[in-house]
């Protein structure tokens, strides 16, 4: 009891707007873990936090921008990546982190995602994938597994979900990884790596949604973590086409792809204003 009486300071409190904590995320929600991994990675990577921006869209994960004590933007639905691209083009010195959910980045914001990956804009995109639209009441999303039950698919989802690493790879992302919230150390390392490299980096993180997805598919939060523990296979360097996300066949996690190629700003300077790039070089 003595410990709880004294004013305890969490090591991440200097990166949090503590007046807003406790946050709105449900008990057992995985977004908090992804968020804390990102903050540990931001702290550990040694990048200049005065020049770091966090951009979020709409949804449960979109709240993250409101909790981080950095310059942060809570943008319109699906438009986190266009805001981030604009910010990066206006001030290429900034480190821009996009932290958002699967619904925001891949359903309403799907086009923005593929084009930012194609252009190789220098962003770090962290996508919390909870397999449904959590904030609006657990409807089927573009990532809901086939046959999973949601409020809009009570008899099971008849559609096939997106494979996010494959989509990112095919669109031209230069760093693709997938982890779960149980692989927190690998996730933190991966986010650190993504922050320190140039180009479009995409990290998908599987997270439980006990209120929306878990309740209808009989997965209590700890049950979801047990599935992550038993069914995940770490395969670094596996081709994104082999990255399965199926509870029965196994969930492939790991760092799938990394390849350096010229970023959007570098290509623009080289092509459209060669004199500028020579002066600055």
């Amino acid at each position: 009891m003595e410990k709880s009486k004294k004013k305890a300071a969490h090591p991440l409190d200097n990166l949090l707007r503590t007046d807003r904590i406790p946050h709105i995320w449900c008990a057992g929600c995985g977004i908090g873990t992804v968020f804390s991994s990102s903050l540990i990675a931001l702290q550990g990577s040694g990048i200049d936090l005065k020049k770091t921006v966090m951009v979020s869209g709409i949804g449960c994960s979109g709240r993250a921008a409101g909790y981080v004590k950095l310059d942060s933007y809570h943008t319109t639905h699906g438009r986190a990546i266009p805001f981030a691209t604009g910010m990066k083009l206006a001030n290429p010195e900034l480190n821009v982190v996009v932290f958002s959910g699967d619904g925001d980045l891949f359903a309403i914001g799907g086009n923005h995602f593929i084009h930012a990956a194609r252009r190789n804009v220098d962003l770090t995109v962290i996508c919390v994938n909870n397999l449904n639209y959590g904030m609006t009441g657990g409807q089927a999303a573009a990532t809901t597994p086939s046959m999973a039950k949601t409020t809009t698919t009570p008899m099971g989802n008849p559609e096939q979900p997106f494979s996010l690493p494959l989509l990112a790879f095919a669109s031209g992302a230069s760093y693709v990884a997938r982890w779960t919230i149980l692989h927190t150390r690998d996730l933190t390392k991966s986010i650190e790596e993504a922050l320190l490299r140039k180009g479009f980096s995409f990290i998908e993180v599987l997270a439980p949604c006990p209120t929306g997805y878990g309740r209808r598919n009989r997965e209590a939060p700890l049950e979801t973590l047990r599935l992550y523990q038993e069914r995940t296979i770490t395969r670094n360097g596996a081709h994104p086409t082999e990255a399965t996300l199926d509870i029965n066949k196994g969930i492939t996690v790991g760092k799938f792809f990394e390849q350096d190629r010229p970023t959007c700003v570098e290509m623009y300077d080289r092509t459209c204003r060669p004199s500028f790039s020579q002066e600055s070089a």
């Binding site: 406790p22 873990t33 927190t184």
Partner: protein, 90 residues
């Protein structure tokens, strides 16, 4: 500590010690820290916090090796561990 094979230098290795602090008013009682603590340091307490959740309590303080896993998996920034000097517990 449990070993599947006793290392030769087990007497020379010093394991780090940690002390866990729980910020009870932030806890939402998900139980991740209790279930995934590798040294089984925590248990569910029988108290309730202001929001009606049951926070964890430290069951075996001497077992903590300061691995920070509870700190990193807690979704609510409600638990952290700090390093103790190696002889603090003896």
């Amino acid at each position: 500590m449990k070993y599947w094979r006793i290392p030769f230098d087990v007497d020379e290795i010093q394991t780090s010690r940690g002390s866990v602090t729980i910020i009870e008013e932030r806890c939402k009682g998900c139980g991740y820290c209790i279930a995934y603590c590798p040294r089984d340091v925590l248990e569910l307490s029988d108290r309730y916090n202001a929001k009606g959740y049951r926070p964890p309590a430290v069951k075996k303080p001497e077992a903590c090796v300061n691995c920070h896993y509870c700190e990193i998996i807690c979704p609510d920034f409600a638990i952290f561990s700090e390093e103790l000097p190696p002889d603090a517990m003896e």
